[in-house]
Amino acid sequence: MVRHRVAITGLGLVSPYGGDLEDFFTRLAAGESAVRHLRTNDLPRPLSTPFVSCTAFDPEAVLGKPLASMMDRFAQLGMAAAFAAWDNAGLPRTADGESRNDWGVAWGTALGGTLASEKGYRELWQKGRERLSPLTVVMVMNNAANAHISLQLGLGGISMSYTVACASSAIAIGEAFRRVRSGEATVMVTGGSDAPQAYGSVRAWEALRVLAPGNEVTSPSACRPFSSNRSGLVMGEGGAALVLEDWEHALARGARIHGEIVGYGTSCDHTHLVRPEAAGQVRAIAASLTDGGLTPDDIDYVNAHGTATADGDPVEVAALVAVFGERAAKLPVSATKSMHGHLLGAAGAIEAITTVLTLREQCIPPTAHLAQLDPACAGVDHVIAARHGHPLRTALSSSFAFGGSNAVLAFRATP
């Protein structure tokens, strides 16, 4: 079977810091948190929680009023990220003669149009209305983001969505990668988006007792992966997109190649709905190495799933130690969720972008707020300040979801 090399030619996101891609990475490298305190005016009881909001994002300005008004916020974030990645790839938004009938979209979202569906419930149950807007169905559906992306960019190939909790966009990227590698698709837009600030979503997550507490003062440092005083995860909204492209096609049009995606490994713990299991993660990590023709010695950085939950972090380190053996102690690892938060269905995508930029810029962003390492999380080289000066050849990005679904992506730097 012929395997095509897969170039990453476009990166785009709605940055929680409000700036562009370069600004995003600069701030991550500086250890700057985008987490803030979110207080809503929800009835009957306002939400009050650390959260990552894209407050500078103006959907009407970026997408235009007609398009923005057809979309739930998750699709607005997704469309904006996809446009940014597409422009970054130097591709015209309207096809210029070349057929795009095998160009497609693979998009991750854990929640889909939850805000629109919640608005519908409020209309029905709080305001006593009997009918809903006719746009409700097309705003709520989980495949709204990828459908809009295909429409706006004229992509005639497959358009699909993946809902795999916190691994949604890692799996979307992996499946898109396979399509390009096999030759089925020339170009794939992939990534993910979510807007988990719906009243019911946050209340449901609170009930699981996995959300970190925080107020106006303490929220920026509320998410402390691997730390002995970690207190849970911090959710956030966001959208992040990558353009994956057949290597030869990218070369032929003189595209800038940010990096190469070389491996994708998946597994299921099949042991518990929410308690992760090292054995399952080990299989996904090992599968990504095998898929990319890599050995543990090739890996110079791991962007951890690292959510800062009590159970999750030590299990993840145990899995890395199991795969990397003696080398684990020298394996640089960081959890950037400490700064950009846990974007659920967009988490894998924002971390994939972070990993690609780590290789491109040859700079490892740190785990923020890691002053005191939990001994249970020892065993790898925790990066706590931006690190330069060591050649970074290949890197992994891990996503381990509720439901036990694991996905690991492997990236290679372009010389």
Partner: protein, 78 residues
Amino acid sequence: MDSINLIRNFLEQRLDVTPDKVTTEARLEELGIDSLMLLELMFEFEDKFGISLDNTLQTPKTVGEMVEMMERLRKENG
């Protein structure tokens, strides 16, 4: 509010169409009202005037036809 102004308001708020473009001869499709937006516009009309539209109603093609339909329904519903 009369029917044409309801349409003008809707188009300005939702699709950024300036009111001067909303003439009786203007075709709804050219103003950006596709089948989904038409459903949304009819929904707003029903809401505003407390009317329930029949699913078998013929789809208007122009602003004038839309106004005519709205006026007729408002009269029928007193």
